[in-house]
């Protein structure tokens, strides 16, 4: 089974989904990402879906889960690069992705993550517990 690579870019993790995933692959990506967030102590995760031709309810749920898990682990997640046709389709499908932050592309997503990190530093909160 092809594994989807998770790259470390500075203090962030970049997940670029380049293949049409079947459900088991999507679930294993969710597990891999959780492990990597803890292992690398990443402050943010960028999930690039610009190659995805569809986001159905299963993939949508997985994106939501990945965002929630990342948050629980004290980091932020941003989904970037959603295709316009995919955006139109998920709205019609009824998928709201309410807990998922999105940005137009990787650059904008990274800027959003940096902004959030700076904000937190100023507020002095939301750090994961040290082990």
């Amino acid at each position: 089974m092809d594994q989807i690579p998770i790259l470390k870019v500075g203090e962030f993790l970049l997940v670029s989904i380049q293949v049409d995933m079947h459900d088991r692959q999507a679930l294993s990506l969710q597990d891999d990402l959780t492990t990597q967030v803890v292992k690398t102590r990443a402050k943010g995760v960028l999930i690039d879906i610009s190659s995805l031709e569809i986001v159905d309810s299963f993939i949508g749920r997985m994106l939501g889960n990945m965002a929630s898990i990342t948050q629980v682990l004290g980091a932020h997640a941003v989904v970037v690069g959603m295709r316009p046709a995919v955006a139109i389709t998920i709205v019609e499908l009824g998928l709201s992705l309410t807990n998922v932050r999105t940005a137009l592309n990787v650059d904008k997503g990274m800027a959003l993550l940096r902004m959030q990190m700076n904000q937190e530093m100023n507020e002095g909160g939301h750090e994961p517990f040290e082990k």
Binding site: H22, D56, S57, R61, T89, E92, L93, G94
Partner: protein, 138 residues
């Protein structure tokens, strides 16, 4: 209306779901449906193919290429011999699920296509038929 072309694919595994939605995509590209039409039909296909595998215990998808008074369409018929759906009206409502899903599969898919038919009887399986007609004239 007999189809110009048809193909039946099995739906038993995750990989079969992938193959069916990729085949529908290829057909739609060949028939020059626009990207939004393609994305909607492929997404609906993915939802219903998954239902066939997960809830129907496996079955098949039959793809048909249609031509009707000058317009072109693609139809996909999902069939399984699973438990069937006891209350179709309830199953079409958003948020209804008997499994671990979001419950958007049936109702959501219906909104993505032009024609949607569902036949089901308890213990006799389910057949869902979706059709997308080409609106764009490139």
């Amino acid at each position: 209306m007999s189809p110009l072309r048809s193909e039946t694919l099995p739906l038993r595994t995750d990989e079969d779901v992938l193959r069916v939605r990729q085949t529908v995509r290829v057909w739609m590209v060949e028939q020059t449906f626009n990207v939004v039409e393609q994305t909607m039909m492929v997404t609906a296909t993915s939802e219903l193919a998954r239902n066939t595998v997960v809830y129907g215990g496996g079955g098949s998808a039959r793809l048909e290429l249609l031509a009707d008074s000058g317009r072109q369409g693609i139809r996909v018929i999902f069939e399984d011999e699973g438990q069937g759906i006891p209350d179709i009206e309830q199953a079409l409502k958003d948020g209804f699920t008997t499994g671990a899903g979001l419950g958007l599969g049936l109702g959501g898919s219906k909104r993505l296509v032009d024609e949607f038919e569902i036949e089901s009887a308890a213990g006799k399986g389910t057949r869902v038929t979706i059709t997308k007609w080409k609106k764009s004239h490139p």
